[in-house]
Each structure stands twice: as C-alpha cells, then as structure tokens.
C-alpha cells in the first residue's frame, strides 16, 4: 500500500471517529431510542467502511455519514414497516416509566415533543438547529430543495412551540410547570 493511501486511511478513520458523537445524536433524534439508534450507527459505520473508496477525501465527511445513516434509517423503516405506529402512546409511556434511560429529566418533555413531529420535519430541524448543517447541506442530505428544508424547519418550530406550550422564555421548574407541560405534550 502506498504511503498516500495509508495516510488517506488514517484520515478517514480519524474523521469517522470524530463524527460519531454527532452522528449518534442524530440517530437518537431520528429513532427516539438509544438502543435503536446505536444499532443504526453500527450499520452506518459498516456501510461507510465498506464504501470508503467512494468517499472523496477533503469533502464533508460528516454530511456523507449523515446521508448514509439517514438512508439506512428510512430503508430499514420501509423494510420493517413502521414498527411503532403508535409512537405517541408507546414512546411517552417509556419516557415516563424509565426516564433514567433517556438522559436528563428536564429534557424529557422536549424529547417527547420532538418524537411527535413528522419524520421530515424532525430531521430538518435537527440537522439545521442542532447538528450544525447549513440549509444547503441539510437539503443535500435529505435529497430535497433548500426551500423545502426551510419550510419544514419552520413548521417544526411552530409545532414544537404548540406541543411545549412555549410562548417566550419561561424558566420551567421541576414541579408544577413541568407537569403541566408534560400533560400538554402527551395529552394532544
């Protein structure tokens, strides 16, 4: 193997590793569950590894990985059918029963609300609002027009505000306020 190839290999591995926490957070956002998310990330790593020759060094590896993960997510969903049609009921029940499995308590209600968004809106707002992609990059990852991403993000924001009952910054305490928001988010 040439020195150059060896170097490309090393850079590929380093960048893949560096992207994993962000990629995994995206997977958790899409699936709503850590166990499913980690299976999805594992499949993505295998796919990326097998296709590393198709990755052009110097281009955006993060966007490339996100595209693979997203395609994998939707193709698995199509294959299995939507296992969890009743995402409201099942997911919210899991949240309330085992909150410790789902990270910080004060983010439970947000996470439940995020799960209620349609898939296309959820991925759009997560890519742009949290994963750090520009609208153009998000459009490329999702294979749609920039305008479509923008309108999905905007609809996602409106829906989240409705679900969370947010009208301006209020410091929600861990008590009465949270209970009200929770019943709102789940009550729908």
């Amino acid at each position: 193997m040439s020195k150059e190839e060896d170097n490309d290999d090393r850079i590929f591995k380093r960048d893949l590793l560096a992207s994993l926490p962000n990629l995994r957070a995206f997977a958790v956002s899409l699936t709503g569950r850590h166990d499913k998310a980690d299976d999805l990330v594992q499949d993505t790593i295998m796919k990326a590894w097998a296709n590393q020759k198709s990755f052009t060094a110097g281009t955006n590896m993060r966007a490339w990985l996100f595209t693979i993960l997203r395609n994998e997510f939707y193709s698995q969903m199509r294959k299995r059918g939507r296992e969890v049609q009743d995402s409201d009921g099942l997911f919210s029940e899991r949240f309330s029963v085992h909150p410790e499995q789902y990270g910080r308590l004060d983010l439970q209600d947000f996470r439940a609300a995020l799960d209620k968004l349609p898939d296309d809106q959820r991925e759009a707002i997560v890519l742009v609002g949290a994963a750090g992609f520009a609208y153009e990059e998000a459009a490329e990852i999702c294979g749609c027009a920039v305008g479509t991403i923008k309108s999905r993000v905007s609809r996602a924001r409106t829906r989240l505000q409705e679900l969370l009952g947010v009208s301006g910054e209020v410091d929600y305490g861990p008590d009465a306020g949270d209970a009200a928001i929770t019943s709102r988010a789940f009550g729908g």
Binding site: R24, S29, Q42, I45, M46, F110, G129, A130, Q161, V170
Partner: protein, 70 residues
Amino acid sequence: MSDDNTKKDDMTTSQSQEARPGSVSPNASISRKLREFYDAVQEEGIPDRFLDLLERLDHAERNAKSVDAK
C-alpha cells in the same frame, strides 16, 4: 384575596404568560432546548461497542491487505 390571585398566577405562569418584554423569543427557546437535548446525547461520548467495531474492521482490513501484498 389578593394572595390567592398571586398564587394562582404563579401556578399558571408557564401556560398562560405571553412573551414578556425582554424575554427570549419562542423560537430561541425551542432552539436552545433542541441544542441542549442534542448536546446531552453528544456528551455521552462514543460507546465502547463502536470503538471495538472500528478496531475489528481495521484489523480485518490490514489482514486482507497483507494477504494482497504477498
């Protein structure tokens, strides 16, 4: 009477209060919560299973290459 009203106001603050002057916009609040949620997952770091997987893939690749070279 006035005490009761105050209490009531406090209880319903999170639901009924409109954006106050000087408060952050609803969009900013949603954006902040989204980033908090996302960052919390990122901060969990990389699970060992992925590090193991990468090591195995790396190992397999090196073996394959050394066979090729012969």
